[in-house]
């Protein structure tokens, strides 16, 4: 049995020790890393890919990469940032290589590709099943998630990274290999499409 290490978010030394153990092949330590980061990684993959199935596959790739490359983590940034950055890069590079697949998979939610309205399934209340106005917040979250999933790839990526994850345009530009101006334009487009989808305009 391995030494028992507690993983506390700001505990850089603990993280380093755990990462060392995991990179030396300790599965229990690796399991602990997985537990600490998988739900965040999954959320990122899910929102960036727009498909649960795809997200699950991507997340698996991420953790295999983490396992392989843990030794290269210098410990100068938080392990979490390192993992999330790796996640973003992996999702992005995957998206470029898998056009065919994407057209199918993102279609899990996306039906309205290429048109300028791109409404999501849950549309603002023209009426409910029996024409009653829509209520509150749980739905709005579900609606928003679904609408995000239906955005075109570029707009979705930037929206998720900027407005959900809180990355800056400069960082996003570096990660996606595009100009900052393009990122900004994509973000505003994404917001516009989302407003339309959610029936705000």
């Amino acid at each position: 049995m391995t030494a028992r290490l507690e993983l506390v978010p700001d505990d850089r030394d603990g993280e380093r020790a755990l990462a060392r153990l995991a990179s030396s092949g300790d599965e229990a330590a690796f399991a602990q890393l997985y537990r600490a980061h998988s739900s965040r990684v999954f959320a990122l993959c899910l929102r960036m890919s727009g498909s649960r199935q795809r997200a699950s596959e991507l997340m698996q790739d991420v953790f295999v990469h983490v396992w392989e490359r843990l030794g290269t983590w210098r410990g100068d940034s938080a392990l979490s940032s390192w993992i999330y950055r790796l996640t973003v890069n992996l999702v992005l590079s995957n998206g470029r290589g898998e056009q065919r697949r994407q057209t199918h998979e993102t279609a899990e939610n996306a039906m309205d590709e290429g048109t300028e309205h791109r409404s999501s399934r849950p549309e603002r209340s023209e009426g409910s099943e029996l024409g009653v106005a829509r209520p509150a917040s749980v739905h709005e979250r579900i609606d928003l998630e679904r609408a995000i999933a239906k955005l075109p790839n570029g707009a979705r990526t930037v929206f998720v990274l900027h407005d959900v994850e809180g990355y800056q345009h400069a960082e996003i530009a570096t990660m996606t290999g595009t100009a900052e101006g393009t990122c900004r334009a994509q973000l505003h487009r994404a917001r516009k499409l989302l407003m339309e989808a959610l029936g705000e305009r």
Binding site: R35, A43, R141, I148, D163, R201
Partner: protein, 227 residues
Amino acid sequence: MNEPMSHYDIETLSAFADGELNAVIAARIERHLAECSVCRDSLRGVRELVAAAHALPRDIAAPAEAWDAVRTRVGRVARVARGSPAASRRHTGSWWRSGWMAAAAAIVLVAGTAVLMPRTAGKAKATKVGRPAPVVVSPVAVANVDRSYSATLSELRESLESQRHALSPSTVRIVERSLATIDTAIAEARSALASDPANQALVEILSAHYERKVELLQRATELSSSF
């Protein structure tokens, strides 16, 4: 009231909201906003959208079986790295033999399937689960699984109740009947897991039932909430 006839597009207002426009244009937009309720609404909409996006949960529990797959792949990578012979073919018996795997899966579950949990809740949970993998799943862990779903489920339940009047009685009956079916399955899986706590398959089955319940409730709330 004389409302202006032309309006700024959402993209421009979005750039305005982010403070990206030069002073001259920004000033022009501000003057326009003072007179135009349509654009004020749009700008408010943009800000609400950004706030809602920021408030989305950061943690969404990965499917329980993903860990199994990761572990298998990592195991293969490790073996190749050490130059040992290729992995022998997985035989069926291994499905639920590994107590370690069961434990890990259970804890992954505890980490929350809170698709709808607010960000803070997700964070609190993520830090709470930093316990090392025990060899055997304790009934306490199983109870934790229940608990992690219960918040999501009761939130959805509540939301469904609040709009029950918007659903036809026959729809309510169908939903209730299906929920009852799933609940029976959950009860059976739980009691089986209680008497065989290290059974990985049962952990997966239980989590799958909970996922189904969440999904059904989500669909039911969408029926009444949206076109």
